[in-house]
Symmetry: C2
Subunit: 222 residues, 2 copies
DNA sequence: GTACGTTTCAAACAATCGTTTCCATCGAGG
DNA sequence: CCTCGATGGAAACGATTGTTTGAAACGTAC
């Protein structure tokens, strides 16, 4: 139908502009004019700008969670003892993250959006993502827990976010970094190349020795 | 003078609001009313909103670069051979980052601002920071190069940005993460505690084994 | 062909934005 | 006392924002 055409044209244009400039810096007029669609179409089809932003994310995250659940199902089936090696877990997640947007040639956009979701205040976005897609992440962390029984729970929690930061930060700022790297080392870096470089770093970070015991608790500016 | 009072009151208010909501989401009216100064004061003292944003950063980065240069001078004096151990370099940087905003009890704000500087498009900001403060970073990376001669240049470049992502991502999203961690593990985390946890992870990431040789060059969606 | 629900369109809405203007106020120097 | 440059303050500027409106255009079923 014609609706689908307008809706997808809005989404296709919006995700690119959001990724390039951020949410607040992208007006509905910029989106609709570039998408060759009437201004009112956004509010008609999505209801509001907030809802459009969430729809942009849903188009990536819905297939991602579905595939990732499937991938974890397969992994659990191959390891009936319930303990999946850490490398396989990471590998599975990486593959899923790469697969989903690859079909629309928009891995870069997906990564930038993930970066924005974390950095931009946009309270509603973080809440929406947390409520809508938190369950997959919970399942994943539980599997990581079984894979790394020697790590204290709190330590594992923080280290998972450390490497999450590494990946999102790197892949979402990829363009700028790639330009610098290319200028300084003349080497062209593909996303797959970057993932190859990331793997040993992530594994080493998760397997790092435990920190020294904390000193006496000192108050800290909050 | 009265000028100084107005200027610092604007800066104090602006940096907090920017850190909480981002730049585009913080209006000059919100800043000036909360700071109890006239709306026109911002344009009078700073010239524009862009200039105010840069001034907020300069108030942190100017003392930071000065101290960091001094710390590196001291390190080079203690190692006349020109090779400073990696741990000392990292330690020195961490200490400087913690010192500067500690004097104004605003480490959290500083970290959030750093995170915003990377994520928000705000082209002018990245350019400003790069041009104004890029030299310290260049000096630091050169010292890291001498400290890790076994690493290929490109590999070191990427790993430095990996750990930079870890640190900025973690410390700028600290509030949200701290809430989750506190809820899940009942443990209160101070910034110093987090730095203690970060140290072994960062060292392990930089010292990770080299990735396997790349496969045949495959084109990748850019 | 006519009626109906859906979608598109141009126009206007009220609100907010950054910036500018103009005048009052102040304090120091002549 | 008067002057003058610097600062504070109220009001308005024009531009842009997200959203709403009401009518035109559309395809479909009777």
């Amino acid at each position: 139908m014609a609706q689908t055409d307008t809706v997808t044209r809005i989404l296709d244009t919006a995700e690119v502009l959001f990724a390039e400039r951020g949410f607040a810096e992208t007006s509905l007029r910029t989106i609709t004019s570039k998408a060759r669609v009437n201004l009112a179409a956004v509010n008609y089809h999505f209801g509001s700008k907030k809802a459009l932003i969430q729809a942009v994310f849903a188009r990536y995250l819905d297939p991602f969670t579905e595939r990732f659940h499937g991938a974890l199902d397969a992994l659990e089936a191959r390891h009936p003892d319930g303990t999946i090696p850490l490398e396989e877990l990471l590998e599975s997640m990486a593959r899923t993250v790469l697969e989903v947007p690859a079909e629309r040639h928009s891995l870069k956009v997906f990564m930038k959006l993930l970066g924005l979701a974390y950095s931009q205040a946009q309270g509603h976005l973080r809440r929406y993502i947390q409520e809508e897609y938190g369950s997959v992440f919970t399942r994943f962390t539980e599997l990581v827990r079984r894979a790394t029984p020697e790590l204290p729970d709190a330590e594992r929690f923080w280290r998972l976010h450390f490497v999450l930061g590494t990946v999102i930060f790197t892949l979402s700022g990829l363009d700028a970094l790639r330009d610098i790297a290319e200028k300084d080392y003349g080497e062209h870096v593909s996303v797959r190349d970057l993932v190859r470089r990331l793997r040993p770093v992530v594994v080493a970070a998760l397997n790092a020795p435990l920190p020294e015991a904390p000193m006496a608790n000192r108050a800290e500016a909050s």
